[in-house]
Symmetry: C2
DNA sequence: ACAAAAGTGTTCTCCATACACCCATGG
DNA sequence: CCATGGGTGTATGGAGAACACTTTTGT
């Protein structure tokens, strides 16, 4: 489906949506020791934006977010945290929607509901990079990972949304032990440490980090890995959800 | 103004409001060593509810909350934290609105916008109990403090909202040092400790508590207090905002 | 004198940090 | 052998909890 037809259907569907509210998703992934965020680029523009969407009239807020996530990543059962509701009165962007529309030969009506103000609920998601199949929507010509330290300019207030998401992620890292959701099913200690270092933006001492992680009693050691390097093969670990659920609170 | 006229005007004003979104305010106060919450009781019913409201079309989300807070408490410049957005699809309560209306001789139209679903942004506020003048709105015959441990049944999902607010308050207590907002300008160490104990729901050791608080370097000691008891008068302390702003982050 | 408030000292545990060092193993 | 991974030991410092004890001061 092309942009024009997609836009027509999208706007028509407005009457089936819960009014006044949108969602923004900061989807974090981890690859090559870099923390990445999934961004869409609007067709025929250089406008980058976070994935997001709207809530259907008979749909739970979180389900609406999961629907968006599944479409952009191909994944169900994603780790998700709500982190903030953005409610500034300036959150209406008719100009951007107009430019995007006109860049795709669509005449934009400024009375269109999409041009109005939305209060947006921000969620961040943690996904296993290798399982994600980034999938653009009809309005985007790309859906790609971007290093969080080198994001392009973002439309709307999405830069602020990303910053707040990262801040929340950092704060919750130890408390919710959510980092494992960014790794594959099995991973090495070195990989886990690299992930923590990347998220927190600082070096950690290997021995202490390993003691701490193993001390949590939530890791299960599997067999060895690799036969590539000229050295000892690292152990593989797996996050044990059962052990995690026993302890906290 | 009576309920009927108020209701008519309120409903008419719907077109000036941002659609689909409401706000809920958990206003905490501290008195007689009890943590209290401000509740409204709908006129001629036994329905208790949190103060809350809607956002005007050209109004910031947080400003909308402050507008409600000022009307219910008489206070500006209230300490405020957003803690959660409630987005369940079942958040529409036509029956309750109908009963409230009919209890006040208003014929309720189920197509009325107020009967629809709202996504509600939850805020908690911390106020100085003695400065608050609880003020009911046209739909309420009382606006009163209630001990958080003995709340009456609440309408809508407001019980869940209160619980989540208290949880957030507890988590943020040390991090944001927000408890001082629940006390008068000046207070004694004993009062401060009682406040912490009430919020956290556990006893604290006096000596350690005082060392910790004084060690934060954010308290300013004033002159003495009292001449009531047959004993030494306690010091009065004041929260020093300047010292607080220097340290954190 | 008494009672409440305030302060000091000490001990323990737990945790994070830091660093030195050893062992294992695959080529 | 040596590079990498994995592990132990140990010292330090800080926070917090527990408790004993002293000092201050208003009536």
């Amino acid at each position: 489906m092309d942009f024009q037809e997609g836009f027509r259907l999208f706007i028509e569907n407005g009457k089936n949506l819960h009014p006044g509210v949108s969602t923004d998703c900061v989807i974090f992934g981890f690859h090559d020791n870099l923390l990445k965020v999934l961004l869409l680029k609007f067709k025929n523009t250089s406008f980058y934006a976070l994935p997001g969407g709207f809530i259907e009239k008979d749909e739970n807020l979180e389900d609406a977010v999961r629907r968006v996530l599944e479409r952009r990543t191909g994944l169900k059962d994603i780790y998700l945290e709500q982190f903030y509701a953005f409610g500034d009165k300036k959150r209406a962007y008719p100009d951007i929607h107009r430019i995007v529309s006109e860049s795709n030969s669509v005449v934009f009506n400024p009375d269109n509901w999409i041009a109005g103000r939305f209060i947006s609920i921000g969620y961040y998601a943690l996904v296993d990079f290798v399982h994600v199949k980034p999938t653009p929507d009809v309005f985007s010509d790309s859906c790609d990972w971007h290093d969080i330290r080198e994001l392009p300019d973002l439309v709307f207030d999405h830069r602020e949304v990303v910053d707040k998401a990262l801040e929340s992620l950092r704060q919750m890292l130890d408390y919710k032990l959510s980092a494992f959701n960014l790794l594959p099913e099995s991973f090495t200690m070195i990989e886990l440490q690299a992930l923590y270092e990347t998220i927190l933006g600082k070096k950690l001492v290997r021995t202490n980090f390993q003691r701490k992680m193993l001390g949590l009693g939530i890791l299960e050691r599997l067999e060895k890995k690799w036969s590539g390097g000229a050295h000892k093969a690292p152990y593989l670990y797996k996050f044990n959800k059962n052990k995690y659920l026993k302890e906290p609170d």
